[in-house]
């Protein structure tokens, strides 16, 4: 699997208006850093082969 392209600036530009969030100048650098950390962790997690039938942990009990 090729590494998905990850552009933190593009994510911020696209997601902030959708979420109704304003990412101020002082926040942009730290938000990018946290997105990049998250992307690294997601890539690590994505490398795990999970069975289609593996239930997510929080299963709703009516």
């Amino acid at each position: 699997m090729s590494e998905p392209a990850f552009d933190a600036d593009a994510i911020i530009e696209a997601m902030a208006p959708l979420l109704g969030l304003v990412v101020g100048e002082a926040s942009r650098g730290p938000v990018k850093t946290h997105l990049e950390i998250a992307a690294r962790y997601a890539a690590l997690m994505e490398a795990t082969a999970l069975d289609d039938h593996e239930e997510p942990a929080p299963v709703f009990t009516p």
Binding site: S27, A38, A42, T48, P56, A57, P58
Partner: protein, 465 residues
């Protein structure tokens, strides 16, 4: 009053109050006096509920005078991280924003249960904003400091709980642990703590962080006090939907069974790297005391940590999204910017992380088939300096704030019960903790081992002077 009650564990205070050697009012007055003397320099308490505490103490003394039976914690002062509801106070959860909330009408369930056992609430404790923190620093209230060296962190997010216990302000405190927020301050402040199994103790009327991982538990300077507090807090509560339908398992009576016959191993792999030598030397010391020679591995622990990290970002962001929109400037910037990033994560990552959580639970269950207890470092290092933003572990520079919990996060990810025990080294001013971990619902085993180590003198929680 001749007893130095400020230095006594809760069990001994209760015995003294029951015998009449000291009154509950004398005990509480002494605790309030120590808080007054030490809190300004250490930043443990954000609220002191003196009038309420003295009224409660008087009620205990009146009950004794009438010959009524007193609870197991009679007269013992305690305090709660300020995300626990305390009737009459807004539940600030370490934030500026929550101070605008109306005062809580009723105490949190666990506060009520400790008071029903005779303990006396003396106040609310400092914490990292909205519990998204491992440092014990707070942008609004100032840091809770490490009593053993006030230029260093207490650890967080239950930092005030660590500071209050290690400085002898109270013998008992409550905290919360989502990814390590009980175990990290326990390690950095050199005190005992218990993070029970996920779903064991009621979270009713506490301010949440990550519903998937939020746990509550006690801190103390003795293992017996942890057991007494835990026993008092057990029980069903319809107000917490995550509370599991399991029978209560009181622990105080089983502490003396010790570690004899238990199969104990060290955790290898992920838990044996990315830390300073002190973290692994502490585990080694505990393993030697318990004659634990085996090493077991939790498969893919690094991915467990990664998955827990992502779920935390996303659930935390969902909880605070509206506040991020309306009150962004009122957050601690370090917390706000992590939450903003969390709001932007793809849903597929989070669902997959929850699927991995199921996988990891099964894999760890398999790994623990042949062992009763596993040992791991609680933190990768001793307490960093206040304000320190980065650290170097295994040659890699990383952020302090998220990474103090790198050994705790994979464990709470699947809700295993953990006692953290404090290890001291001659010539070192600061302690470091070791996690004693068992299978789900076996809090009895982790406290038996902690008590055996305490009885051997291998671990201890001295008051910082």
């Amino acid at each position: 009053m001749n007893l130095p009650t400020q230095d006594l564990p809760a069990a001994e205070i209760a015995a003294a109050v029951k015998s009449g050697a000291v009154s509950a009012r004398e005990v509480v007055t002494a605790a309030l006096s120590r808080i007054e003397a030490r809190n300004g320099a250490l930043g443990a308490f954000t609220d002191v509920t003196a009038a309420r505490a003295l009224a409660k103490a008087d009620a205990i003394d009146a009950a004794r005078a009438k010959g009524e039976a007193l609870g197991a914690l009679a007269g013992a002062p305690f305090a709660a991280k300020n995300l626990f509801d305390i009737a009459g106070l807004p539940t600030r959860a370490g934030s500026k924003i929550n101070r605008d909330l109306p005062p809580a009408k009723q105490d949190a369930t666990l506060v009520e249960r400790l008071e029903a056992a005779g303990a006396v609430l003396v106040g609310g404790l400092n914490m990292g904003e909205y519990a998204y923190d491992f440092t014990g620093e707070n942008a609004h209230d100032g840091p809770s400091r490490n009593p053993h060296d006030p230029g260093h962190m207490s650890g967080g997010s239950s930092g005030g709980s660590g500071t209050a216990i290690a400085s002898g302000m109270v013998p008992l405190a409550l905290g919360s642990d989502t990814n390590g927020s009980i175990r990290v301050p326990s390690s950095l402040c050199g005190i005992f703590s218990l993070k029970p199994t996920y779903g064991r103790l009621s979270r009713a009327r506490t301010f949440p962080f990550v519903a998937s991982f939020d746990h509550l538990g006690p801190f103390a300077r003795s293992v017996t006090d942890l057991a007494l507090a835990y026993d008092a807090m057990l029980g069903p509560d319809a107000s917490d939907p995550a509370l599991a339908d399991v029978a209560p398992n009181p622990l105080a009576a089983s502490l003396a069974l010790g570690a004899e016959g238990l199969r104990i191993a060290r955790l290898g792999g992920y838990f044996a790297k990315t830390g300073e030598p002190a973290a692994f030397a502490a585990v080694e010391r505990i393993a030697k005391a318990l004659d634990a020679q085996r090493i077991v591995e939790f498969p893919q622990a690094e991915r467990a940590r990664a998955s827990g990290y992502l779920i935390t970002m996303a659930e935390g962001a969902a909880l605070h999204l509206d506040r991020l929109r309306r009150r962004g400037a009122d957050f601690d910037p370090d917390v706000r910017d992590r939450l903003i990033a969390g709001a932007m994560l793809p849903g597929a990552w989070i669902v997959k992380a929850q699927k991995f959580r199921s996988w990891f639970r099964s894999a760890v269950g398999e790994a623990m088939k042949d062992v009763d207890i596993v040992l791991a470092p609680a933190t990768p290092c001793r307490a960093p300096r206040l304000g320190q933003k980065t650290m170097v572990l295994d040659g890699q520079e990383m952020l302090v704030r998220p990474n103090l919990g790198l050994f705790t996060q994979p464990i709470s990810f699947i809700g295993l019960p953990v006692a953290t025990v404090p290890v001291w080294t001659d010539g070192e001013r600061l302690p470091i903790g070791v996690q004693i971990i068992a299978a789900p619902w076996r809090e009895d085993l982790v406290l038996r081992v902690a008590r055996a180590l305490e009885a051997q003198g291998v671990v201890k929680a001295p008051i910082a002077r």
